[in-house]
């Protein structure tokens, strides 16, 4: 079944979609150089819940902005997942004190900045014991359904997040969202399992078969060839920061050599080149020429 594009207040989210991940604030200055040019190569941008808080109004990209829930913090040692009133919450203890992330906090913030939001989910790393895995999935589903019920801004599109460890758990999670009114489905937790192609294939196809009419987004897929393969399996949308992480190391995917100690403008060009491999956009001659000067001379 053909998946329809999603229209948001800041433009159309056209499928297949790749959203480059960016940050706001001062922690990664390279992102500030790169961000204005991301819409030239992709039709949407992904930012995590945490960094979206540093976005100034003047910095808002002129394209659909996807904002995740920050649930990946569940992977950190200082974070605990707690059930509260039937919903999953995150308790993060740090030097700065305790921070509690609830589904409500997440969606209220997303409603301020996001065109497409993702519900608060809890990643299930490989080798998690089944009881804990089930608990995390149960809370992930509860949060998603609560968010759908309590979304105030209907213009903001909402993707229900799935966390699964095999085909059956993926299907069950998808069934919980089927026909509930989500604008799309997002699959988390595949990054640590991506080498196990059979498992990933099983999870994605089981979800695709269960919700054939909804767009499927997959978090954190860092290689263009993996994106291509997952597209064939029925996924429609992806995000990753690998294009910029490789650029920081001087790794331009069009050249075999790596240049260490590149300056910030060279990193920007490399990142744009890497991003174009995901989105299949051609780069202007000026960028190709500058990269050639950098890598071939």
């Amino acid at each position: 079944m053909a998946i329809e594009n999603i229209t948001t207040q800041n433009g159309e989210l056209a499928f297949p979609n790749f959203s480059p991940v960016t940050t706001f604030g001062d922690k990664y200055p390279l992102d500030n150089l790169l961000r204005p040019y991301l819409p030239m190569l992709s039709n949407s941008i992904m930012v995590s819940h945490y960094y979206a808080q540093f976005m100034k109004p003047s910095e808002r990209p002129n394209c659909p902005l996807l904002v995740d829930s920050g649930g990946f913090a569940a992977l950190f040692n200082n974070t605990k997942i707690r059930k509260h009133k039937g919903l999953g919450t995150l308790i993060i203890d740090s030097e700065n004190g305790r921070e509690i992330i609830t589904p409500e906090k997440v969606i209220r913030f997303q409603e301020k900045v996001a065109d497409v939001a993702f519900t608060l989910d809890f990643p299930i790393p490989p080798n998690t014991n089944l009881k804990e895995a089930k608990r995390r999935q149960e809370l992930t589903i509860a949060n998603a359904l609560w968010a759908l019920e309590n979304r105030k801004d209907k213009n903001m599109k909402l993707f229900g997040c799935i966390q699964a460890w095999d085909a059956v758990s993926g299907k069950n999670n998808a069934l919980a969202y089927k026909d509930k009114g989500f604008d799309g489905i997002a699959i988390g937790g595949l990054v640590p399992r991506v080498k196990n192609k059979e498992l990933v294939r099983a999870i994605v196809t089981s979800i695709r078969d269960t919700v054939p009419d909804l767009p499927i987004h997959i978090f954190g897929i860092g290689k263009p060839e993996t994106v291509k393969w997952l597209l064939e399996l029925g996924a429609n949308s992806f995000d990753s920061s690998s294009y910029v992480q490789s650029a920081v190391s001087g790794d331009c995917w069009d050249y075999s050599k790596i240049i260490e100690q590149t300056n910030q403008f060279e990193k920007t060009l490399i990142a744009l080149n890497n991003l174009s491999k995901f989105t299949n956009c051609s780069l202007p001659p000026n960028i190709n020429w500058q990269l050639k000067q950098l890598f071939e001379i």
Partner: protein
């Protein structure tokens, strides 16, 4: 009339990914084509930068395009507008019309402009062949290179009528080329030959009086423009002159009179080659040869076509005529007529230009270590192995000179890092060459008791002081007389040391000395118009030098504190005080005593001038004034007057006036120089050959044209213009050498002897020093 290839050009303009180099003849619609692309881009919601080399043209385009694009914000960004006075802020403009220097500033301080730079989708560079200009080209090249890194997605459209290497320029910019020699009004070249220079004027007069169209006549110098214009007027032609020595309003008046056809002829210098729209039916290139200070050479094809491009008024002329005057013995102008344009070269071949760009690369955050810097240089217009070696050498020299520092980074992984020092940052921020700040630092460090005249001399010796006012040899005696009465530490040095400190020599040093005298006299209250008469130059030139030196004074002040120092030493404070005084003196044209009024808090240069006009001429006068008297001056209240008087009393008591100089002439000049023979003319006379004829007649060849001399009443007379002005011309010197005049032979022998061994400075020795020597060093 639309270009016959209009549709093809538009198609290529809209389809080319990187942009297009439009190499079309003058008047064939380049600006119109660019405007259509500008409109398309801003309609799409993006921003456009339009670069034009001339302020006058920027103003003209701003006026026209503001009315044509009334639904969009059109901004103008030239040196005429401070950031606080911009008609439209950078961020809100859809179309930004700027000079190359303004784009340069935006890319140097790109962090301040980051909110709008990525929104630019099109950069149009008009007269893009300016890239080859040794003075302004390097800043355009640097700005363009940095802009392409800051905004790698912007398309570029280059506009030019005259370029010999469009493909290599387009290849650098990664844009396509569209070339066409079509002109809406066909251009016809006509050659007029003359046997002797003295025939030229009459030939021109005949040509012009028979010409029905309006004519623009290009000559090489300002004086010649005035001279030819007067000559034509005397012959009943409605003529006027136009050159950069005229102030803006005079130039505009002449341009308007020409447009309104109140003038039939405009005699101008090459400044009208580019810029304001001022077509004529007929263009005359009167001087097809130019003298560069050493030799005569034909003008370039690029220049000739730029000038000829003025010919042909749409709707008025069916053909455009360009007439070029050539001497009988040098008639070959095939290259010009056939349009064989010269290739433009990167001006970064000059050490001084490259040094400036290296500092900017580091201080603006484009490079943090040597390999990065060398890689960045690959992005400039012309680059080769030689450039790499040149870069490495200059880099080492700049580190040694304290413009850059190398330091070990935090992690062992990285190589040595580069950082611009305070001096380096100062040069980049104030857009001056590194040599300028190094000179100022040298003066501050080594001449703590430098006089105000020494500061003037230092300011006028920099490459950033402009314009350079030339001085005629005939004014050397006057210059010497002036210098002898100046208080100066610098002129106590011997000539070799002086040249080394100021890093200039020859005529450039003479010019700096004369310009310093002009500044000094201006600060003694002499009007600019009177100074211009006295020094044989134009008031506008002096005014521009004053403005330039006011700007440079702030850079001078910036050099007082270095990396680890604080400006707390008495010497530093005194220097700062002096530089503050100098700034005030130059702003209002007053002496240091009057400028000292600005020591009082609340009195700036304007109020000091007001006080001066009301007989309060210095701090002492102010301390003795009655508040009632002061409060009668408009804008000064009684309480303010009282407060000022109290402060002035205190300052006088504290001895602030003692920081001002005492008048003690200390110049170190050779007192008895014979200025009868101009050494420069004498040097040039040696290149001439003399043929003797019966009846004491001579033919002298080897210059721009042959000249004929004869002896009348025991006096040699020449037919050249220099002689007609009363000078002992080089032809006469050549004949006297030919006749073995012992005085001349002795002077020639003296040419090779310098007074280096003497501790005195000889202006005559300085005058004859080869100008070219020493120009290669960035310092």
């Amino acid at each position: 009339m639309l270009h016959p290839d209009y549709n093809d050009i538009v198609k290529q303009l809209s389809q080319s990914k990187g942009g297009l180099l439009l190499n079309l003849a003058t008047g064939s619609g380049k600006t119109h084509l660019a405007f259509e692309q500008i409109l398309r881009t801003i309609e799409y919601g993006a921003k456009v930068i339009y670069i034009t080399p001339l302020r006058a043209q920027a103003n003209e385009l701003f006026k026209v395009w503001s009315s044509r694009l009334e639904n969009y914000a059109v901004g103008i960004y030239t040196g005429e507008f401070a950031d606080s006075e911009l008609p439209v802020p950078f961020k809100t403009a859809d179309l930004l019309i700027m000079t190359p220097e303004r784009l340069d500033a935006c890319t140097r301080f790109w962090r301040n402009h980051w909110s709008w730079i990525p929104s630019i989708k099109l950069l149009v560079i008009d007269e893009i062949h300016l890239l080859g200009d040794i003075h302004r080209g390097s800043r355009l090249e640097g700005a363009t290179t940095r802009f392409r890194r800051l905004n790698p997605f912007s398309r570029i459209i280059g506009l030019t009528a005259t370029i010999g290497n469009p493909k290599s320029l387009a290849s650098w910019l990664q844009i396509e080329v569209f070339q066409s020699s079509w002109r809406p009004i066909p251009l016809e070249w006509k050659q007029v030959s003359f046997k002797q220079a003295k025939d030229k004027k009459q030939t021109l007069t005949d040509l012009i009086t028979n010409e029905k169209s309006q004519s623009i006549i290009f000559v090489q110098s300002r004086r010649k423009a005035e001279e030819i214009s007067s000559h034509l007027q005397e012959n009943g032609v409605l003529a006027s002159h136009h050159h950069a020595g005229l102030d803006k309003s005079s130039r505009e008046q002449v341009e308007n009179e020409f447009r309104q056809r109140k003038l039939s002829v405009l005699v101008c210098t090459p400044t009208l080659e580019m810029g304001v729209n001022l077509p004529a039916g007929h263009v005359v290139i009167y001087d097809a040869q130019q003298y560069d200070g050493f030799k005569f050479s034909n003008i370039t094809t690029n220049s000739a076509w730029q000038r000829a491009g003025r010919a042909g008024r749409p709707g008025l002329d069916s053909k455009a005529l360009a007439t070029i005057f050539t001497p009988e013995w040098n008639k070959n102008i095939d290259n010009i007529v056939n349009g064989h344009f010269e290739a433009i070269k990167s001006p970064l071949e000059s050490d001084a230009n490259l040094a400036e760009q290296l500092i900017v690369e580091v201080s603006s955050g484009f490079a943090k270590e040597e390999p990065q810097l060398l890689r960045n240089l690959n992005l400039y217009f012309s680059t080769d192995q030689q450039r790499k070696e040149q870069t490495k050498r200059i880099l080492r020299e700049m580190v040694a000179a304290g413009m850059l520092v190398e330091f070990a980074p935090d992690t062992a992984k990285q190589g040595l890092q580069l950082r611009a020092t305070k001096l380096g940052r100062l040069a980049a921020r104030n857009m001056v060459q590194p040599s300028t700040v190094l000179l100022f630092k040298k003066i501050i460090d080594n001449y703590q008791h430098a006089s105000i005249f020494d500061y003037f001399l230092s300011l006028c010796s920099t490459n950033d002081c402009e314009p350079i006012i030339p001085l005629d040899y005939e004014l050397l005696a006057q210059l010497q007389a002036e210098l002898i009465s100046r208080q100066t530490l610098l002129l106590q040095e011997d000539e070799v040391r002086l040249r080394s400190v100021l890093n200039i020599q020859g005529k450039r040093l003479i010019n700096a000395l004369a310009m310093a005298c002009m500044l000094d006299e201006f600060c003694q209250g002499i009007f600019v118009d009177d100074l211009a008469i006295r020094w044989g130059c134009y008031p506008f030139e002096i005014s521009r030098v004053i403005e330039s030196c006011i700007r440079l004074t702030s850079t001078f002040k910036g050099c007082i504190i270095t990396e680890d120092e604080e400006a707390t030493s008495t010497d530093s404070l005194t220097i700062q005080l002096k530089l503050n005084l100098i700034s005030t003196m130059l702003q209002i044209g007053c002496n240091s005593k009057t400028a000292s009024l600005t020591f009082v808090e609340g009195i700036g240069p304007k109020l000091a001038k007001k006080l001066y006009d009301n007989e309060i001429k210095d701090l002492e006068d102010l301390s003795l004034a009655e508040p009632e008297y002061l409060s009668e001056i408009q804008g000064i209240s009684f309480s303010r007057a009282k407060r000022w008087i109290n402060i002035a009393e205190q300052l006088v008591e504290d001895g602030y006036l003692s920081t001002l100089e005492q008048w003690q002439p200390t110049a170190n000049l050779t007192k008895h120089t014979n200025f009868e023979i101009d050494v420069y003319r004498l040097i040039r006379s040696q290149e001439l050959s003399v043929e003797e004829f019966p009846e004491s007649r001579f033919r002298v060849e080897g210059g721009s044209e042959p000249h004929f001399l004869r002896i009348e009443n025991k006096t040699l007379k020449c037919d050249c213009k220099d002689f007609s002005k009363g000078h002992i011309c080089k032809h006469i010197l050549a004949v006297r050498r030919h006749k073995e005049d012992p005085f001349i032979l002795q002077e020639i022998e003296n040419l090779n002897k310098r007074s280096d061994i003497s501790s005195e400075i000889s202006l005559k020795d300085i005058w004859k020093t080869d100008l070219a020597a020493g120009e290669s060093s960035w310092r």
